[in-house]
Point group: C2
């Protein structure tokens, strides 16, 4: 992984920001739109028509140039900027995950964002020993040249950030970069951004984080990291979500053991039981990282502004193809390949119909690329 | 495994006790002697001559009938008895290990000694949480019908015995059964022997346990058990020896995790790192035991009183064979098969020469059946 890539022009950046902030456009849809339309600008033009074809009852909200410029001004006031997937400052490991954010709000050092990264997550109500051990691991990894990624939460997260502040730490936030949560970590956030660390978020400036934004944020930690260490995690905790997402993304999961009688250790012990690597010392983590840090991660596409070369031209689907695909779909998630085989409609056309349904708010996307009707 | 087997006559039992209490006769040599001579009685007759042939400088001490009768009287006064390998009360899993004691001093319930057994071992300076968890595991296993084996030590051992006292627990001792160590557990020992539990030792009555007897005792715990749970073990602790012996005997090793910052957890965490099964709850142990408890363990021979059928008759070795074998041996352990190939002397003769050297105190036996000159 190297710090390289294309750079968007300012007008492209505004178009990317408008597109990702428009209704019904998530990371997967964003990529489909770029592939289908060739650029964010053209996708913005086509959005209302595509959504209408997909059965949208009312006109889809498309973010305006003024909206985007306003958010960029807010970002600038907070020393933030927007980094597109494929640009040099984008965390290289994060590019490789399914549904990588096309655009990240970023504040702080791009160099820190692009170094080999270790995720460290754990309980907010950490024990003294847990916080201390998290700090030991974070300090050792940061000293060895790794960026330490975490979620700016209380407890383990804060301990990991503090211990790696000197060498560079990455904070992934669930809300906008001007909405620091929890407020008690506002000073830590400021230090991260000004002392060589970096903060990222895929949510708009001004966005107050809600409960459901945290698992999404956890995907940024897991995705940025080559490996994730879980220190003190209760059953059904957010840290276990991060571990699951890391595992799904093919990243190494490590866990710090604890007494089975401590509820804070049940999640991390459970991970070890399921096959996570046990961490007995900071050195264990460094040993596990060493062979990973020169790994070339598979890159699932940079959503660059060239349409994918395709044998079949994406034309407007025939009405009966559209009906056949919509009827074949149901509330149970299915594979797109199965849908293509089942309907006999050609692949490019199916993708386009799905894009229309998606923009109309009628499609749900599931892990592993599966889809269902909402 | 079932509670069955042969029974020694009283004169045979006295001969067995004399033989195992004679100089230079350990479990492996005992078995070789029975194989070579046909019975303990005949082996006792041949001991001085075999040792002399092996190069013993002075006459080997052979335990007398009076010695054996005296020890049996002491045993009887302490409600103890001697159980030979192959007899019904001998722990069936223990029969299957290399170097199983031919004769055990036993006090208490033979039924408890022969049930499927779980070993639980750990730190003497246990934490409250460690002792509590050990008791939870012991109580659950005992309640499910397993005998819980441990070493009567302070801390984890005592907690495991106490929690399984009601259903039956097995204490393996490093000294004679009339030399209870540590003294503070004398009352626990008494309750084990009188309330349905059982105590075993391979050492003579009157033997004060020395430091080097404890690893030997640990082999009785590991050998009696289908699986061993290690709760709180420091690095280089006796519990890790038990775990290693259990692993070498093909028994399942489980370990209870703890904070990496607690020295008492470093040994058990290290076992998990090396592949031991992590114990997050007592149920984990029961689940691991379930498929083992009906296992037929390979039985490495019952040292019964019939000589092994052999193609080659064991005659007295020719002097130059004896020289060739002795010269081929050195201070580095070697495999007996390699020795046979290297010297070209026939297998039965090599075994006999080794037996002579052994009785003369010139042979050291190592794990895996390897041997060297002392």
């Amino acid at each position: 992984m190297s710090r390289s890539g294309i750079s968007l022009s300012e007008s492209q950046r505004i178009a990317w920001l408008r597109l990702i902030r428009s209704d019904n456009v998530g990371p997967a849809t964003f990529r489909e739109l770029i592939n289908h339309c060739g650029s964010a600008e053209k996708a913005l033009d086509m959005l209302p028509e595509l959504a209408k074809r997909g059965g949208a009852m009312k006109r889809i909200r498309v973010a305006s140039i003024a909206d985007a410029e306003r958010e960029m001004e807010v970002a600038a006031r907070h020393d933030g900027r927007f980094v597109a997937i494929g640009e040099p400052d984008y965390p290289p490991a994060l590019r490789a995950i399914d549904g990588a954010p096309p655009l990240l709000a970023m504040c702080g050092s791009g160099e820190t964002a692009t170094r080999p990264t270790l995720g460290i997550v754990g309980a907010r109500n950490a024990s003294v020993a847990g916080a201390k051990f998290a700090a030991m691991v974070a300090g050792a990894a940061a000293g060895a040249g790794y960026t330490v990624a975490s979620g700016l939460a209380r407890g383990i997260d804060a301990a990991a950030h503090h211990a790696s502040l000197k060498h560079g730490t990455l904070a992934a936030l669930a809300g906008g970069l001007d909405r620091i949560y929890p407020p008690e970590n506002a000073d830590l956030y400021r230090r991260i951004c000004t002392e060589g660390g970096v903060a990222i978020s895929e949510m708009p400036y001004g966005w107050e984080p809600r409960a459901r934004d945290f698992p999404r944020r956890n995907r940024l930690i897991a995705g940025s990291a080559l490996a994730v260490v879980v220190v003190e995690a209760a059953m059904r905790s957010g840290s276990l979500i991060t571990a699951r997402l890391a595992n799904e993304a093919g990243r190494l999961v490590l866990a710090v053991p604890g007494s089975p009688l401590d509820p804070r250790a049940q999640g991390s012990n459970g991970l070890i039981k399921q096959g996570a690597m046990i961490v007995c010392s900071p050195e264990d983590v460094l040993e596990a990282l060493a062979p990973l840090s020169n790994l070339e991660l598979p890159f699932s596409g940079d959503a660059g502004e060239e349409p994918e070369p395709e044998g079949e031209a994406p034309v407007e689907p025939a009405e009966d193809d559209r009906l056949r695909v919509a009827e074949a779909l149901g509330p149970s998630p299915c594979e797109i390949d199965d849908l293509i085989r089942f309907t006999g409609v050609n692949a490019a056309t199916v993708q386009l119909i799905l894009l229309e349904l998606d923009l109309a708010g009628r499609l749900a996307r599931h892990p592993g690329g599966r889809i269902s009707l909402t």
